[in-house]
Amino acid sequence: MKTIYIMWLRELKRYWRSKSRMVGSLGQPILFLLALGYGLGSTFQKAGEGNYMNFLAPGIIGMSIIFTSIFSGIQVIWDRQFGFLKETMVAPVSRFNIMIGRTLGGATIAAIQGMVVFILALIFTSFRPYNWFLVLPAVLVMLLVGTMFTALGTAIASQLEDMQGFQLIINFLVMPLFFLSGALFPLSGLPSVLIIITKFDPLSYGIDAFRILLSHSGVYSLTLDISVLAIITLVFLSVGSYLFSRVQI
């Protein structure tokens, strides 16, 4: 348990200490929020879909979570040769605990980023949560989604030996997951082939849960979203910890 705590604490300290990275990583979500929110707002309204800002903000929160989490997980590649990770691999601690601590740390940071985007959306746009009491459950969902993707990032990073694969992962995995998650546009209008693909996108269930909790709109039910997220998180955690335990330097 101490191991898990200390790995978690380490992730948080590292995050807190690089203020420039913190601020920098918020740039893209804010840009998307303002540019798309105000840019497409009136078109969306005219199409009968309602307030775009309320639709978009949960999507952008999801965006910052997936990118932050995957990035945290991917750090394993670097860490493994040059960082603390090697030290943990010769220490008398279980790899599983190392992985859990790291994953929870990454998830916490992703949730914090999600919260910051939420607050910035409140300040700079017309977005308002439907029910303030539902904000806390939303934060828990942020943690869940963060855990899911940090575990995925760790699983992938455990298989890569250098940073070359990183670009491929970002462009061919994370971007599609993001764009087909319903973060930016409703999924109902898509051609049926794409709709089927989106059903396999874990992020879409997260975004849907955020929308239900924060904007009182959404396509699936909260129960379905949470169940799917929980199952996929467990799967990713298992796969992630298995692959991580087999990492060799």
């Binding site: 040059f82 960082g83 090697k86 691999m89 250098d162």
Partner: protein, 267 residues
């Protein structure tokens, strides 16, 4: 004097390639032992097997009475290691790095705090304890890693190319610390190096490995006598040949290059 490390018929094969080919050697308790060999000889692979990072294909290892394959945690408590590439956390302070190590090795809090202070004073870094490691020079990082490797009072300290890239003053200081520790605490020191003068000056016994096989073991005097040469370097060259080894950049080399390009960390 008994043996703290015993290796018998150790073999490691990766597919068709035999990296370590049936080697056997012992390291006596309290000895300073050097493991020398050209690039690609099998040194790193052997060390990884001794330090629980790799499983042998066959053969037997005993470190402080425990087997790394069956009892990895007992073995891990018995050794400390300073890797070739720094494995410190750059974004944490020197003190925090040591504290984390202490927690991972289950050193109880009061004892841990006491030892951190002792060891940091020993390597002359206590006044920089609250500085982030990324601000440290290569030599300071090495000294910190030595302090860290010793925090849990291991019986053996492994050092992989410990003085690579360090200036002579720091190198000198480092060996002085290690020799003092060896004398006063009886810590066994196991190191690899390409700097033959160091091996000659510091090591009590040396094993030379090439192509996965141990080709000679003994004190530096014995090796010179065996090859009828005047220095350890000549003995080494005579035993391993003068030809430059064909190598490919490993994934590690590529990462190192990437790191330099990014300007990450001072060396």
């Amino acid at each position: 004097m008994s043996n703290i490390i015993e290796v018998k018929n150790l073999k490691k094969q990766f597919g068709d390639f035999v990296a370590v080919d049936d080697i056997s050697f012992e390291v006596k308790t309290g000895e300073i032992f050097a493991f020398l060999g050209p690039n690609g000889a099998g040194k790193s692979t052997t060390i990884k097997m001794l330090t629980t990072l790799l499983h042998p294909t066959s053969g037997n290892i005993e470190l402080n009475g425990s087997n790394p394959v069956n009892n990895p945690n007992a073995v891990r408590h018995s050794f400390g290691i300073v890797f070739q590439d720094p494995s410190l956390d750059d974004e944490l302070t020197a003190w925090e790095n040591l504290e984390f190590h202490g927690v991972l090795y289950n050193v109880e809090k009061k004892l841990r705090r006491k030892r951190i202070e002792e060891l940091m004073n020993f390597v002359e870094l206590w006044d920089r304890k609250d500085n982030l490691v990324k601000e440290f020079s290569g030599g300071m990082k090495r000294r910190l890693e030595i302090a860290r490797g010793l925090l849990h009072h291991p019986k053996v300290l492994f050092l992989d190319e410990p003085t690579l890239g360090l200036d002579p003053q720091t190198r000198n200081h480092m060996w002085a610390y290690l020799q003092e520790l060896n004398k006063s605490e009886g810590i066994t020191v196991f190191f690899t190096t390409h700097y033959m003068e160091e091996a000659e000056k510091i090591a009590q016994r040396i094993a030379i490995i090439d192509h996965g096989k141990i080709i000679a073991t003994g004190t530096s005097e014995e090796l010179k006598a065996q090859t009828q040469t005047a220095s350890l370097e000549e003995a080494f060259l005579k035993l391993t040949g003068n030809v430059i080894r064909e190598e490919e950049a490993s994934a590690t080399d590529k990462l190192r290059a990437h790191r330099q390009w990014r300007g990450g960390g001072k060396r």
